[in-house]
């Protein structure tokens, strides 16, 4: 029964299924409408859908010209982002794919440059030249290589920076280790007319792999952060947080206080906490079933959101999931997070945010309100109080902007970072020219 019902609901699963059969433009429109109708939500689902779609777009794009490929991805990306600007991960994935293509194109060009000094890339080179000063300023290695006199030495930098930890071998198709033997390896392995698409596709696949593994990678740091007998407060039913806690629960005993995130996420939270999933949420159907914390002997105390302040004085650590992380170290997380973070600050309780790097967005918020999405009012005032809805203005914000000063630590799949360090990870992951594509 469940297997038949899954593809019937529009969502990530049905989209991924249809992606293989539908023509590419239909798929793009399909995803756009899914995003617009919020039938794909949650950062990870959006990211996965985007990555798979781009995979299709790139493989369907019959061109060897990197510029055309970039243009194609940009146009698709623009449409996706326009469809749901508040799902910042969509833009993040598009940016990363663009970065991949650029890296590969540069690789390609570099090889050409080394081999024949061919001037055929002058066209793509001109826009790059414009970007040079800014890139040099931001400390990126690859930005300066155009003007520098020793391209072979600086060339490996973009790839190795990009793949710092998450992508161990983006160049696996190339023989020879990129860092040490790059000049010779590159020259040997590179076929001049090689289609860069193959490598880009590989890179996109790695992004998809990363999306699948990110929670486990983050969870690997759990034992570094949770000590025995701790009282940990968390909020919402974030799988990243759950996996993080589960990993620690395997070794240590602690207590979890779980705020239920009432109008928007409480059912999922209740299901997460108690371990029996009543609602077949998309998250629950697409992700592997996991044990609840209570099964591992962890005491879980479910509280209404209002009791957070009352209990904060007994909490050792606040661990939060997030919707997306901004370059300034602030984050956009489900509504209610901000008061929790603030209450923690007031009580000098450390606030730890666990988030995959893919949620890290180069967006810098000047207007916080634009980041906030408002949700279904009927969650706040039910139909039985319908008469009220005409008279009063009911609000149901889905997200809160949490300023960086309320966060003590970020744990991503790359490790733990101070909020002030995030800009650096952003610049490692996205290329300057893609930030506003």
């Amino acid at each position: 029964m469940p297997s038949t019902s899954v593809p019937l609901t529009p969502g990530l699963a049905s989209f991924l299924r249809s992606l293989k059969t539908n023509p590419i433009d239909t798929s793009i429109d399909n995803l756009i409408s899914l995003l617009k109708r919020r039938q794909i939500r949650h950062s990870r689902s959006c990211a996965t859908a985007t990555a798979y779609l781009l995979l299709r777009v790139i493989s369907a794009c019959r061109t060897t010209d990197a510029t055309k490929l970039i243009e194609r991805v940009q146009s698709v990306g623009r449409r996706l982002v326009a469809a749901q600007p508040k799902e910042m991960v969509v833009g993040n994935i598009v940016r990363r794919v663009l970065g991949l293509i650029r890296d590969e194109a540069e690789d390609d060009r570099e090889a050409d440059f080394n081999l024949s000094e061919a001037g055929s890339e002058s066209q793509p080179q001109t826009p790059r030249a414009l970007d040079d000063p800014s890139e040099a300023l931001s400390g990126r290695f690859e930005g300066s290589d155009r003007g520098s006199s020793r391209p072979p030495l600086s060339q490996p930098a973009p790839i190795s920076m990009f793949s710092l930890l998450s992508h161990p071998e983006p160049e696996s198709s190339l023989p020879g280790t990129p860092a040490s033997a790059s000049p010779s390896g590159r020259l040997l392995g590179h076929v001049q007319s090689k289609d860069i698409r193959a490598e880009v596709l590989e890179g996109v696949n790695e992004i998809i792999d990363e999306l699948g593994q990110v929670d486990d990678q983050i969870a690997a740091y759990a034992l570094d952060h949770i000590h025995s007998n701790e009282i940990i407060l968390t909020h919402t039913s974030s799988t990243t947080v759950q996996k993080f806690l589960l990993k620690a629960a395997a070794k240590r005993k602690f207590t979890v206080i779980h705020a239920e995130a009432y109008p928007n996420n409480h059912e999922a939270t209740h299901a997460t906490v108690s371990g029996n999933s009543a609602g077949d949420d998309e998250i629950l159907s697409t992700e592997s079933f996991q044990k609840p914390l209570i099964a591992l002997g962890i005491t879980v105390i479910l509280i209404p959101d209002s009791a957070v302040f009352a209990l904060m004085s007994r909490v050792n650590k606040v661990i939060l999931g997030t919707h997306s992380v901004l370059a300034n170290g602030g984050l956009v997380a489900s509504a209610g997070t901000r008061v929790i973070a603030r209450a923690a600050k007031v009580h000098h309780t450390p606030v730890v945010v666990v988030s995959g790097v893919y949620k890290l967005s180069p967006v810098y918020p000047f207007d916080f309100d634009s980041l906030i999405e408002y949700g279904d009012v009927s969650n706040v005032i039910g139909y039985e109080d319908g008469d009220l809805v005409d008279q009063i203005d009911v609000q149901n914000p889905l997200y809160d902007y949490v300023p960086a000063e309320l966060i003590d630590l970020y744990i991503t799949n790359l490790g733990g970072h101070a909020p002030s360090y995030l800009y650096r990870i952003v610049s490692d992951h996205y290329r300057k020219e893609d930030i506003s594509f």
């Binding site: 239920e260 059912e267 371990g275 009352a310 209990l311 007994r314 509504a335 009911v394 149901n396 914000p397």
Partner: protein, 546 residues
């Protein structure tokens, strides 16, 4: 063994009015044992004739109700088990009795006595004589083996930090309320338990009015004087009320004042005039301390509201409501933003009242605090009590609102104004929300019926069924709508938390109040003027010494 032999511990089996702690101590025992001790009861009821009157003392109706029917369909094996348990119980009882006579009090129970008195506030101290006390106690130890088991299970569901607050569960029926309890008080108790009468002032007024009727119906028994006996008579009512829901600070203050008034009546005054004096006293008290006080507060707090203000308030305080309505009647143009919380949703009725009056109202839940506070210019809060160290003790969530108002990122601080009658001032102090609090039934947090979408997308399974039906050309919508209940993992209409009590390690916590630090409160508007929170103890002393 903190206090090995407390005189209070050994007394219960002795004579008439045992001190309060003992009463409080045995009641929690009682309630936790009730479910287990109930079934065998009818079978040996004849041998212990003292039991029937006590049985209704149960604070737990479901087991009490379920006990009898469960009795009928017992399998032989179960009967045997029961008999065994009874035998064990009898032996344990005998042992306990031997121990009690030997002077060794019920040691393991030494800790609880304070529990109850904290939870029930002022009223608990005046616990009355319990006629059945001794026997109840004996039976309490009689069912020890199963009782400890039950208790362990119960404690597993109690959040450890709040262990001291789990007294007896709230009374669910009026059964066993004692014949002294006046019907008006009986009704009030249940209303308070169900939050029909909710809010500190409302409970205080309702209690006083009920007590007025108690006093009217009261006749002094022979051989005693009104000023002496009425206090004990009222104590029965108070105990009953506190078993329905722990008394509020305002109730405690009012009762204290009333008792003072009773004891100051000259024994030579004829009963009729004494009763008239008391009922005048009650009327005056309500008028002075609450009705007029509210008006004074509303008027002076309304002065603080200016045109164009955005007032944020939390939950549904009656005095804030009055303030806002007063300001609106004065022709001020302002907007109100109500923040509400689970599980009581007190703000809904406030929103409805204000909207009906014509105010511009915005409504959001706790998750929207930071949004609501963004354009706020003032925060008005009601109080359950103000503690002597200037902290605000109010509905849980208030502290979050006050905190957000004080720490708006990059913005100016929003003034936080508390409206509070002086009858809610207490000489108690509180540092955090854990030492002093009230635990409500955690089942209130379990959503009773899931939000069923009336319009919009049909249910997943509905759709699947409908599709199937269509393909079979038997597409009958009504028929397709019926089956889904079976296909979902849990039956429709039950939340994942439905059987949280059986789920190990899972606890639900439903506290009623929290303590807002004094530094978040800029001003307390009382009927004696507007004060800083640090002035609370002074005003409290003034108002109680008058």
């Amino acid at each position: 063994m903190a206090n090995p032999i407390d005189p209070a511990q050994t007394s219960p089996s002795s004579t008439s009015p045992p001190p309060a702690p003992a009463t409080q101590q045995s009641t929690p025992d009682m309630s936790s044992q009730q479910p287990s001790s109930q079934p065998p009861q009818p079978s040996n009821g004849a041998s212990k004739p003292a039991k029937p009157p006590k049985q209704p003392k149960s604070k737990d109706a479901p087991p009490a109700a379920g006990g009898a029917p469960g009795e009928e369909k017992l399998s032989p094996a179960e009967l045997k088990k029961k008999a065994k348990a009874e035998k064990a119980a009898r032996r344990a009882k005998e042992r306990a009795e031997r121990e009690a006579s030997g002077g060794a009090g019920p040691g393991p129970n030494a800790a609880p006595p304070k529990k109850g008195s904290i939870g029930s506030g002022a009223g608990g101290k005046e616990a009355p004589g319990q006629p059945y006390k001794g026997q109840r106690h004996r039976r309490g130890s009689g069912t020890q083996p199963s009782a400890t088991e039950q208790k362990k299970k119960q404690e597993d569901k109690n959040v450890a930090v709040f262990g001291h607050l789990y007294g007896q569960p709230r009374r669910t029926t009026i059964a066993g309320a004692g014949k002294e309890v006046h019907p008006a008080v009986l009704a009030l108790g249940l209303q308070m338990r169900d939050y029909v009468v909710c809010g500190s002032s409302a409970r205080c007024v309702a209690t006083l009015l009920a007590f007025k009727r108690v006093i009217e119906a009261y006749t002094t028994p022979l051989g005693t004087s009104l000023s002496r006996h009425l206090t004990t008579h009222l104590s029965h009512q108070i105990t009953y009320l506190s078993t329905c829901r722990p008394l509020s600070i305002s109730q405690g203050n009012a009762i204290r004042a009333l008792k003072l008034a009773i004891s100051s009546i000259d024994p030579s005054v004829p009963e009729a005039s004494a009763k008239a004096t008391l009922s005048d006293f009650i009327d005056n008290f309500i008028r002075e301390k609450i009705t007029v006080a509210d008006q004074v507060i509303a008027t002076s707090a309304a002065e603080k509201i200016q045109d164009g203000d955005v007032i944020v308030t939390f939950a549904g305080s009656s005095i804030v409501k009055q303030t806002l309505l007063t300001a609106y009647k004065q022709g001020k143009k302002f907007r109100v933003s109500i923040i509400d919380s689970r599980p009581l949703f007190e703000g809904k009725s406030l929103a409805r009242t204000l909207a009906n009056a014509g105010l511009e109202v915005q409504y959001s839940l706790v998750n929207g605090i930071s949004h609501a506070i963004k354009d706020a210019t003032k925060v008005f809060l009601g109080a359950h009590a103000m503690t002597s160290n200037g902290r605000l003790y109010s509905r849980v969530g208030t502290a979050l609102v006050a905190m957000s108002a004080k720490e708006r990122a990059g913005g100016v601080e929003v003034p936080v104004i508390v409206c509070c009658e002086t009858v809610k001032f207490t000489d108690r102090v509180a540092l955090d929300s854990i030492v002093v609090n009230e635990i409500a039934d955690a089942d209130e947090l379990v959503p009773s019926q899931p939000l069923k979408q009336v319009t919009g997308l049909p249910d997943l399974t509905d759709e699947a069924d409908a599709k199937k039906g269509d393909s079979k050309k038997g597409g009958n919508k009504a028929a397709a709508n019926a089956p889904p209940a079976e296909s979902t993992p849990l039956p429709e209409g039950s939340s994942p938390l439905a059987n949280w009590k059986e789920t190990p390690n899972l606890q639900l916590l439903n506290i009623m109040y929290d303590v807002t630090p004094a530094e978040y409160v800029d001003m307390v508007v009382t009927e004696m003027g507007s004060l800083p929170p640090s002035a609370v103890p002074i005003v409290h002393r003034m108002s109680t010494n008058l």
